[in-house]
Structures are given as structure tokens and as C-alpha cells.
Amino acid sequence: MLEHIKSFASGFFVTGDPMIYGADVSILLTILAVLFTLTYFKKWRWLWKEWLTSVDHKKIGIMYILSAFLMLFRGGVDALLMRAQLAMPNSNLLQPDHYNEIFTTHGVIMILFMAMPFMFGLFNVIVPLQIGARDVAFPFLNSLSFWLFFAGAMLFNLSFVIGGSPDAGWLAYPPYSELMYNPGVGQDFYIWGIQISGIGSLMTGINFIATILKMRAPGIKLMKMPLFPWSVLSSCIAIIFSFPILTATLALLFLDRYAGAHFFTLDGGGNPMMYINLIWMWGHPEVYIIVLPAFGIFSEIVSTFSRKKLFGYHSMVYAMMIISILSFLVWAHHFFTMGSGADVNSFFALTTMLIAIPTGVKVFNWLFTMFRGRITVRTPMLWTIGFIPCFIVGGLTGVLLSVAPADFQFHNSYFLIAHFHQVIIGGVVFGYFAGLYYWWPKMFGFTLNEHIGKWAFWFWNIGFYVCFMPQYVLGLMGMTRRVVSYSWDKGWWPLNLVSTIGAGLMGIAFLFQAWQIFHGIKHYRKNRDTTGDPWNGRTLEWSIPSPAPHYNFAVVPQVSELDDWWEEKQRREHNPYVPPAKEIIEPIHMPKNSGIPILMAGFWFMAGFGFVFHWLWLTVPGLAGVAICMLAHSFNDDSDYYIPIEEIKETEAAIRKVTTS
């Protein structure tokens, strides 16, 4: 019996690597610490009632962002390990198979489990506040989306200690991701982690389209809506059309691995190139999905900190919608070298270059907004100003890559690596950080220390250039991506060392950010945002107290123009004696919290885990649990309640008292 358990455990748990043993211990200790703290301070009930079962979009948003930060940490450690390995030639720090696992998990985590939840977090916290809504269109679904993402992310991360990580690259190209070459469970963890969180992403896309189209406060016509919700709409349109492709593609790959199908195998009539074709149909829109909201964030910040109306609002809206649709027409530029011939390649090269036009329009709009504005450089604006040159260079190297004949030279080299890190870090990550700093006071009710924030910014920004500029050159020198090591005679050592130093600088920048947040929490009372409008903002979210009460708006606002809050403040300044419009408080209709989403995600996790290990005894009850949760929710009529007028008045009075004292 003991022997039996031993042999099972040696295959089940990842063994043999001291780094992983270290990680095992630290994971265990962290879990114990969390459990102990919760029990010691008797916070279990509070956690369950206030957070885990919450359908409040602001709380869900905060949970998304918290998860994204944890994932950023893990993805960042992966990145630092890779850079440490490449710092010296012939390095033995990581074994080749371990290196493969690390670059795979780095990519998957950063895109799917860091950028996506960070983005959804910002959607959740801000979109309803900006359009004057009290929650999203489907609050229950919203909670379910978060928990499905969480279950998927945990399933994927579990592969680190149980069963072994996937190692076929972040997009798991066959034939290497097929059973024949990859018989372990890593790829199945990959498939199910992404599938389960993908359901959540799709539902979030639907949810926010419905929210933006149907839940705007009276007077917010589409063309009077702030740009962030516009960017969310364009991003969500791309989500609902592209994520089904990902789901179908990974389902086919799973059938290959699980049921012995031959969609992408080398034999039996399969074609691995079809997988590459399909996965990029999702993969390309995906990069626009994550960068469009960043464009929206920059538009809000530029206008706020320049004290000016955004230049070219209409062209901005059209540019984002065009990018959202055009992103579906460029996918083949990821595999020009597949050999589809000149016709195919020139078509996709042209569509790729076309996307640069609306993007260029946006850059000029931001610049013209700043032109002759009264710019105040606070941290959100700093990130925006850092973003513009970075994204321009990233965009230009993208245009270079889009030249199909030249791409045969650049393809899969470090030139490509440098390019996409430049647009994704310079565009997406800088954008989300800018948004996080900008809306932090609205989320938590206190401001962060600007001084530490500036240190973090400069470390990030300088570290970025030090890390990735050498990689362009390395790419041109012939260094290909995913190489585990190189010899002295290649001449790549000095630039690789510089690049590693840059990565270290970004690691330090992350520590600064963590410090900034801890510092903010520690000096919470001193830095309280009592005005609700710390940046002298322009849009509706700044018209309510920070943090927003759980019903957001005591009275649904009546909006008459773009940047309505700014215009309102102007009116009040010109004519302070006009009393504000009489506000009639009515009972507020709100959704009730529900424990079903977290339970259902737990069942999905069970089912996914069962699929990974071919354990039907776990899969079947898991899926049955999912079905039961769906039924239970369908027959639950007790899903909403009204907040009585007295309670609203009390809450408002309490907030006002805090904000005026």
C-alpha cells in the first residue's frame, strides 16, 4: 500500500528540482499563513459575505486586479529566471526542459492570467461608474466570470507543482503539443486552464457590451460617452467574436490528445498548420483586446491632466472601432514563413500596415490634446507620457515586421521578442498601471505616494529600454527566441548581459510598486481622498465619493454633455448661487450576493482536473455539480432587493461626514 502511494506521488507531484521544492515549501507556508490569519482574526465570515460571494462590480474588479498582481509576480519571476539563464553563455542555471516550461508559463500567465484580469478589473471598477449605472447588466454572471477565471488560473498554476508544467510555448503549437511528443499532463493543464477561464472572458465580453449599450444613465448618448467605455465596447466586440475560435481550437487539440483524433497530428490526415492558422485568428484580435482599453485609459488621463477636452473625440471612437474589426483581418502575419505564397502574404502585410493608420490617428490625438494644455505631471500622466514614445517605436518595428519578405529574416528572432514586449509592456502594462494609479483613489478612498510612484515609473521605464533595446540588435545578429543557451563565439554575451540588467531594473520597479501600495495602506488616514475628485476629473465617476458606496449613485445622474462632471463644475464656478438640482432619493434596486458562482467555479475546477488526469470519477461529479449549480440558479427567484430610502440617506450622511471632517 505504502509503495503504491509512493509510486503514485512520485508521478503526481513534480520532483527532482530544488527550485520547485523551494516553491512547494513557500506555497505551503503562504497557504498556512493565510489560513491562520483568517482564523485568528475571525475573518472567514467577513471574507465569504463581503468578498467571495459579492456581485458588486467594484469588489469583483478589485479581486481581479489583486489576482492580476499575483500573476504579474509569478510571470515576472519566470521572466527573471529566463534572463538570469541567458545572462552568461553556456549557462547551466536552468535545464533545457525546465527552461521550456518557464517561457511557456511566462507567456500564458502574462497574457491570459495577468493582462486579461487586470483589464477586466478596470472594466469592472470603472465602466458602471462612468456611465452612471449601479452595477453591470448581469451581476451574477459577472461574479461567475471572475470565479471561472480564477479557477482556470489556479488550474494552470497548479501544473507547477502537480504533474508538470506545459512546455510547448504560450500558444502550444502542434505537433509538439500533441500526445506523441508531449505525453505528460502539462498540455492538458494548459488546455483546461485556458478553456475554463475563457468561458469567463466570453461572458465578461457579453456582459459589458450589454452594460454599455443598455445601462447608460439618461442623457448619455453613445457619442457623449467617455472614451474608456468606448474602448471597452470595442475590446468586448473583439472578445465575443474571437474567444469562441480559441475555445474551438483548443477543444480540437484536446480531442487529439484525449480521444485520439487527428486534427493537428502529422499523420492520419491532420495538419498542424491549421492549428497555427486557427489559433492566430484568436491570437491577433487578443492583442488588440488588451491594448484597446489601454488606449481608452490614456485618453481619459490625457484629457484630465491637460485640463482640456480630448482632441478629436469622434476620430478616436472611429479609430477604436476600426481597429477592433480590422484586427480580424491580419492574423496570417504571424506565420508569413509558413509559405502560403506571395498573394496571401501581401494581402496580410497590407492589412497589417493599415492598422497603423487608426493607431497613428490616436497618437496624434493624444499629442494634440496635450498641446497648449495646462499639463500637471502626476503619476498617471507620467505613465501616459512614457507610453507614447515607447508605443511609437514598438509600432514602427511592428510595421517593419509586417513587411512579408523582411519577416523571413525577423521571424521568431529576438527582434520579434523585443517588438511584442515593447507594444505589450509599453502599451498594455503602462496603460493599466496608468489606469490603476488614476482610479486608485476611487477604488480605495486614498491616494498613493507620488514620490515612490515616480521611482517605480522611472525604474520600469529605464529598465524597459535597457532590457529590450539590446534584444532588437540580438535578433538582427541571429539570436532566435526560446534558445536555452548560446556559446561564447556567437558574440551575443554583452548585449544579453545588458538585457538581463534591464530585466532586474524592472523587477526592482515592481518592488517599488509593492512598497507604494503598502505605504499607502499604512498611511491610509493621512492620504484619504475626501473630495471624491482628487485629480479634478471630467467624468461621472469623480462626481461621487471615494470609495463609491455600494449602490454607486444615490440618484441616477442626468447627463447633458460629454465630460458632464467637468461642465457641471464649470457651471457651479460661474454661478455658485444656483442651488444644485433637487435630488429625490428613491429605493434602489440591487442584486443579491450569491455563493453559486464560486461553487460552480469549484466544480469546473474539479472537472478540469479530472480531464487532465483522465479521472472520470472526478470529471463526472464536477460536471454534474456545474449542472446542479445552473439549475439552482435558474430556480432562484430571490435574487434582488431594494435598499430603503432611510438606509441610503444614512449612508450618504455618513460618507459626507467623513469627507467633510
Binding site: 449599450l213 466586440i237 509558413m338 509559405g339 505564397g341 496571401v344 427567484d637 435574487s639
Partner: protein, 108 residues
Amino acid sequence: MAHTDSTHSVEDNHGSLKSYTIGFLCSIVLTIIPIAIILGGWLEGTSKAVALMMFGVLQFIVQLYFFMHLREEKKPRYNLISLVLGLVILVVIVAGSMWIMLYNMVAL
């Protein structure tokens, strides 16, 4: 939210027994014919593929028209807009994939 459903159910009042019956019969016929084509071996090769795809498209239209009530939607016609966009993207995906994969010099 549940409360707003009272206004929704008034709009929801569409479709008649007649239209549902016609829709049901159409979709049944459009399902039986392709099955018969396969089981009876009436057509071969390209003509079979084209015929099957045609019946698939017809089935799609019947479903949208009789069961999804596409033409009864009020303005702004978000359902129609998203359907058209979905179709455009579907065509791009299918036609684009065929173009890329069939003209693939390596695969040939």
C-alpha cells in the same frame, strides 16, 4: 434584473402557432434532406459538399427567421447588427482559412 422584466414581456409577445409550425416543418425538412443525401448516396464529391453546406445555411436562416424573431426586433437593431458582423467575421474566418491553407506552398 428581474424587476425590469415586466416591460420586457410585452415586447416578447411575438410569434404565432402558425409561424412556429411552418418554422418547425421547414427545419425538419431541411434536416431530413441532407441525411437522405448521405444515407442514400445521392450525390458525390464536391456537389455533395456544396449541397450540404447550402442546406446548413438555409437551416440557419429558418432558425433566425422563425425562432429568433430577427425581423421583429425594435430599433436600434443590435441583434441584426451583431449578426451581420458575426457573418462577416465568419466569412473572413472560413474563406481566409481556405485561402491560406489551400495555397500553402509547403503543404502542397
